[in-house]
């Protein structure tokens, strides 16, 4: 029986349940400062605090001996414990109980213990049935845990005791796991909800009091497939209190994209050279994601050479999520000839940024319509016109400087000639402008001017996104301003669908004010490209594949044999469900041609 995901998915009936591996590891402010091991002990390499060291399997005569397949190694106390070497942990004599007293620097709400060959763990008057990975409620600074081996022929082995709660969930304890992996390809509401995971696991020991103390944002990892062919690890973050009811623990998490909501990007000055316009926007796109605290797992590189006259635009204050989704929305359909300028970010537990010609985005899946259930299709009204809701801000604006919107950044009253002025500020997309002024004895400004126009700025020493250094060549009193750009009112206020179909007018807020053009004279944020977006969307039930990502391409084969009715689409949401050993998915899509 093949344990390859593709081979199993090719079957009408998958021959074996998909393996699911989920891990949640929480921490604790309290730290265990001392472990005291008593009882008849065979080994103790003092590594009970190491949850990342795997237990070595020893050539040991306990419990019927060991396999001679190379998996067991001789006992060797000289091997340094490590992630690679593994460790011995604490191992009792065969059939003997092991007692470990722990002391912490503060109250421990709970500890997680990993064991082998243990039947029960006792803490005071409470006895827990050991499953190999168990949460023990402590609620004290110290505790004494007694580990009883499975039987008289077995050795109690304790790998680690660490503060907090660690769940390693497999099919053995998993009741259900539902993932909602999301993106969005809507025209007028292009932001997307964060991806979510909900796990229900069987856990008979009542640890609800320990779970109540767990804070949000602890990492949850998810992986599924078959042991020889597993999906990439997805990472989510605990988003709600863990609940235990009737032996079932429910864990909910969201992907890292939730951090985009909390990150506010101030009004930004975009200075872009046509030669590398797309690459510059891509760089700012990545910057917005990473500045929100998201660590990208995959990042496609894209570099270009600056050339041509710089163009400018203002991106209004917005959340990082709006900025990221806006960049995607106005570039994903952007093509010129055979060149594709799409920029995309997909999280769903695997934060990835990509660009390119369409073939580099994720996977392409071929799915026969005859393998799909609950087939639904929806057609939106045709978009006839895209127009701005703000008549002053047409889409095709060019830049200008309006000093009336200047923001004072830093006031320098005693700047000497040639003194280097250093300043930094959050609104790093602003263009720095130095104004000089003179005051009378009462402090009233009697003369002022734009330093740059008066030649007072001799050079820009450095120009990083968050810091500028300028130098003045005369002793004056200066005020340092950052001056936003605005736009004049040339251009059109709306775009009409060249197909001239009857339909609705979609009103959009300008994403940025001002046109950023590439070397071809095309706007990088291409509003008319929205007309290329198909109005055809739908959803269907499918077998499910843990590797599928939002925005992946799907070639839906209509099974006519001549290509008629085939659909090329992109995934907007995958709702993947593992339950009772089975796996299925509801996939939402938008046609993409």
């Amino acid at each position: 029986m093949s344990t390859n995901i593709d081979a199993q998915n090719a079957l009408q009936i998958r021959e074996r349940p998909m393996d699911v591996y989920i891990s949640l590891q929480t921490g604790s402010t309290a730290k265990i400062t001392n472990y005291t091991v008593t009882g008849n002990i065979k080994s103790d390499d003092k590594t009970l605090n190491r949850s990342n060291y795997p237990m070595r399997t020893l050539a040991d005569l306990q419990d019927g001996g060991f396999l001679l397949d190379g998996s067991a190694v001789w006992y060797d106390s000289s091997v340094t414990p490590s992630e690679n070497n593994g460790h011995l942990g604490v191992r009792g004599d065969i059939g003997e109980t092991v007692t470990i007293a722990i002391t912490a620097d503060a109250t421990l709400t709970a500890v997680t213990v990993a064991t082998r060959g243990v039947s029960t763990i006792t803490n005071g008057g409470t006895t827990y049935t050991a499953t190999g990975n168990d949460v023990i409620t402590i609620n004290a600074i110290s505790a004494t845990l007694v580990f009883t081996p499975t039987d008289s022929t077995t050795r109690a082995e304790i790998s680690y005791i660490i503060p907090g709660v660690v769940f390693n969930i497999t099919n053995d304890t998993l009741i259900s796991c539902t993932l909602a992996l999301r993106s969005n390809l809507n025209v007028d509401d292009h932001s997307w909800e964060e991806s979510e995971i909900e796990i229900k696991m069987y856990y008979p020991n009542d640890i609800s009091s320990s779970l109540a103390y767990i804070q949000s944002d602890w990492p949850i990892t998810y992986q599924a497939g078959y042991d020889s062919d597993l999906s990439d690890v997805r990472q989510f973050y605990l988003s709600e209190p863990i609940v235990q009811e009737a032996g079932t623990i429910t864990i909910k998490g969201v992907d890292a994209s939730h951090l985009l909501d909390a990150k506010n990007l101030p009004e930004q000055w975009l200075r872009v050279y046509p030669g590398n316009a797309h690459q510059t926007v891509y760089s700012k796109f990545i910057n917005a994601i990473t500045s929100a605290g998201i660590t990208l797992k995959h990042q496609q590189s894209w570099s270009g050479t600056a050339s041509g006259a710089a163009r400018f635009a203002i991106a209004p204050e917005m959340s990082a999520r709006d900025f990221v989704s806006g960049v995607m929305n106005y570039t994903l359909n952007h093509t010129r000839g055979a060149t594709y300028y799409g920029i995309q970010f997909v999280d769903a537990g695997i934060p990835t940024v990509e660009h390119g010609d369409g073939t580099t985005f994720g996977n392409t899946w071929t799915i026969n319509k005859s393998d799909c259930g609950d087939w639904r299709e929806v057609y939106d009204q045709n978009i006839a016109t895209i127009k701005s809701s703000d008549s002053e801000h047409n889409f095709n604006a060019v830049y200008g400087i309006n000093t009336q919107y200047a923001k004072e950044i830093e006031k320098k009253d005693t700047v000497r000639a040639w003194q280097i002025i250093e300043f930094s500020y959050d609104g790093y997309y602003y263009q720095p402008v130095l104004l000089w002024y003179r005051t009378d004895s009462s402090g009233k400004v009697i003369e002022s001017g734009l330093a740059s126009s008066a030649g007072y700025i001799s050079s820009t020493i450095s120009n990083t996104p968050s810091e500028y250094k300028v130098k003045v060549n005369a002793t004056q009193k200066y005020m340092l301003y950052a001056v936003p750009v605005t736009q004049n009112t040339n251009g059109t206020n709306a775009f009409a669908n060249p197909n001239e179909l009857a339909g609705v007018t979609v009103e959009l807020e300008p994403f940025v004010y001002g046109a950023i053009l590439d070397a071809n004279g095309e706007t990088v944020f291409n509003y008319p490209s929205l007309f290329k977006r198909s109005l055809r969307t739908g959803s269907f039930t499918w077998k499910g594949d843990p590797r599928m990502q939002p925005l992946d391409y799907i070639d839906i084969n209509n099974d006519t044999g001549d290509g008629r009715g085939n659909i090329t689409a992109r995934v907007t949401e995958v709702e993947l469900t593992h339950e009772a050993g089975g796996t299925s998915a509801k996939i939402s899509w938008r046609e993409w041609s």
């Binding site: 005569l61 001789w74 005859s370 799909c372 796996t583 299925s584």
Partner: protein, 444 residues
Amino acid sequence: MQDSKTISGSIVHITDGAEADARAIVVEIEPVQSGSGTPSPDNVRPISGWESVTVADYAKNMVTEQTNDIQPCFIRAGTQVIASVKKISGDINCVFRYFRKDGTQIDYWELSFEQDGRFWRGVNIQEDVYFIKFDDRSTLTITDRQVRISGTGVITYDPTLAHVATTDLGRTVYGGTLDVVSGVLTVDRAIVDLGSLTWSVLSGSPYGNFSTTALAQLAKQDKTEPTYICSAYNEVAYNTASSTADNYIWLNNNKTLIVKDTSKSSMTAADFKTAMNGVQLVYELATPTTAQLTGQQIELLRDCFVWADAGDITVTYETELLDGRFHKIKVNDNSIIAPNNFELEREDVYTAEYTTCTGKLIADKIGWKYADTTMQWDTLPDDMLAILTGTTGAFTLKFTDSDGSHTENVIRLGVRNTATRFTDDFGNALWRNIELEVSFTNVH
């Protein structure tokens, strides 16, 4: 009435026993000749018989914790064995020896790897092992001997020694059979000292020097196979006596025993008789004799090995009680007659099911279960019906399927009888037309 089976071999492996006493364990007693090579006056190979026979049945791996003595066991060739000895005092070097069925040593290991206060070693067994032994060295005090076995997959060590039974034969037996269960000893071979027989000089024959008719009434003859073995002469069949070969013994067409030993051609019959003192001949009796010894009950495990120290054995045993197709099932560990035509069907268990737009079922197969069924009995005794009606909700059903015994959790959906209670010719209360509808809950 139970079904029974009969299996023969040097080691009998029973996999479908009824966990009942063996009906018969017939041990073939064969003479044992020591030494090797062709027997001759220069290569005397003494013959010995059996004074007792030991029969044992073991669970799958026939190894127990050992004492200093040679211990019987059975380790199949291809098994991986780890032997270990716990040292208390003295120097190292304990030797673990293992032997063939005839008692010859196959090999030995010096347990030289010290770890954790023990000396141990693991080796692949290349040949069936019947005995093992630990040797103590003079400066070593050793306790806690262990031999453990690992399979290539699941560890199957099971130290269970189920039963050992030794039957004292009350005599030395050189051939025959012993049914350990019934105690019936059949002796079909006897031994004779050739020096006790009256010999005649055989003149002019190229096929022998001396002959005797002393065994004419006793010995059985097979013209193609020798039915006798001798400690000092090569035994040959009637039709293989040779004019050129020397030092052999054979029984001719008239059951005259003839010895050809040209080195003794000049001897008189009396001198030859004297020279034959101590030369053993074991021959097959024309008429076997029987004796009634004390029989022994040998309870066999459902899955076990049975073997004897004497020779090949033939075991007749009751087969598994729980063969649903023919015999009995267990409801909550209570035996009742199996239902009519009790053959359960297995069905795949699917999850994540959905139906495609073309009506095709898509799903994940997560295992199989027994299909829900209605068990029917034409007749059940009163007490067995009470077992059925005594079930409430979930209960266990134990039965034998094509791949072995199974215990399943089932839910009783309904029990029905037509209330036709009657009494049979022997006064037993019986019920007719019983039906029990059950749903199986275990998924495999």
